[in-house]
Symmetry: C2
Subunit: 210 residues, 2 copies
């Protein structure tokens, strides 16, 4: 009986708790060095009447991440130094969208520049806000299949990249064992196995590992 | 023959392209309001001898995200306003680690505070750097099973939350259809289906949807 009462009480709470949007009272620019970042601070009014005067917003460029499968069935991956982690990590082809570039065009350009591969078949796996509180840009995940080698890689100064090819099951194993250390590329791998539109999706039903 | 030559050329390129770490020449603090954020700028020396004088680093608090399955087999989700997106979104129980708090303790506290549920069985699904270039904190994903209602939710001022319970297949469908709009919670759902240690893992082999 006590449990039943609790459950009813809870239901009442839930019914009353429909979330409402906040109001933005003012916004102040604190730091700007485009296209890299822009930091601002909002003064926001909450639905309960309270005000928060230092709710920070962080604008970072959007980026695309590619899970590309070659004609031989292997996944194109990279080893690359990442400064925020301070070491060389396992990564996927990825990069910031240029001005006015679509996410797909960015994904195709980054795959070619970083690995030298092109692909004819592309699927959009999803696009996500990096941080619901601060912003921090947007991640666009793509799968590509039938990738073939087309040219020498053309990397930027900040990109010293070793391209490696891995079996799909080894990529999923790397994800699950924590060897993909950055959120965007790790999630792109996850989506490539979970999304029915992805060429790797059928594998997720057969992988009784790990 | 032409293709073969290209492949050899490519192999030579790869053999030479082992990535090396960058050197941090100096670091300057630009903006600090802890525990919320700290922005600094590094002057870095690349392996090719070039120097970048404005490589920004963004420190944000680490956070935990929970995919909790109730005793009835449903997943505890939330509808909540997120200021960086400017609207009410579908979310998971999640929150910043308090000072000296472990990721697991944070996950358990946030589940209880935001939903009123506790769980006896917990699995760590993975921890990830949010942004390999800038940092932006760390995300820790957990799965919990056998969750039971224990108390009224105790939300913070910034958290006006509607708790909802969804079938696992509907949660995966929401992920694939783009209804989970933030990277951390969306990825936690993905991991909950992909990781063999997760109570939802067995479902990923049976879901012939979507």
């Amino acid at each position: 009986m006590k449990n039943e009462k609790k459950t009813l009480s809870r239901r009442d709470t839930l019914a009353a708790a429909f979330p409402k949007p906040w109001k933005n009272r003012k916004s102040q620019n604190l730091l700007e060095d485009l296209p890299w970042l822009k930091i601002s601070v909002d003064s926001v009014l909450l639905p309960n009447g309270k005000e928060i005067e230092n709710f920070y917003q962080i604008e970072l460029p959007e980026y695309a991440v590619v899970v590309a499968q070659t004609e031989d069935g292997l996944i194109l991956m990279e080893r690359q130094y990442k400064h925020a982690i301070g070491k060389i990590i396992l990564n996927l082809p990825s990069g910031y969208l240029d001005s006015h570039e679509t996410p797909l065009a960015c994904a195709q350009r980054e795959l070619l520049e970083e690995t030298g591969f092109m692909a004819n078949s592309w699927q959009h796996l999803g696009s996500f806000c990096v941080d619901g509180n601060r912003g921090c840009g947007k991640m666009h995940a793509f799968a590509a299949s039938g990738a073939y080698w087309a040219a020498e890689p053309q990397n930027e100064d900040t990109e010293e990249i070793e391209v490696i090819q891995k079996k799909p099951e080894d990529v999923l194993r790397a994800l699950i064992h924590g060897e993909l250390e950055t959120l965007g590329p790790a999630f792109a791998v996850g989506l490539a196995f979970l999304c029915p539109s992805s060429p790797l999706h059928h594998l997720s039903h057969n992988l009784k590992m790990i």
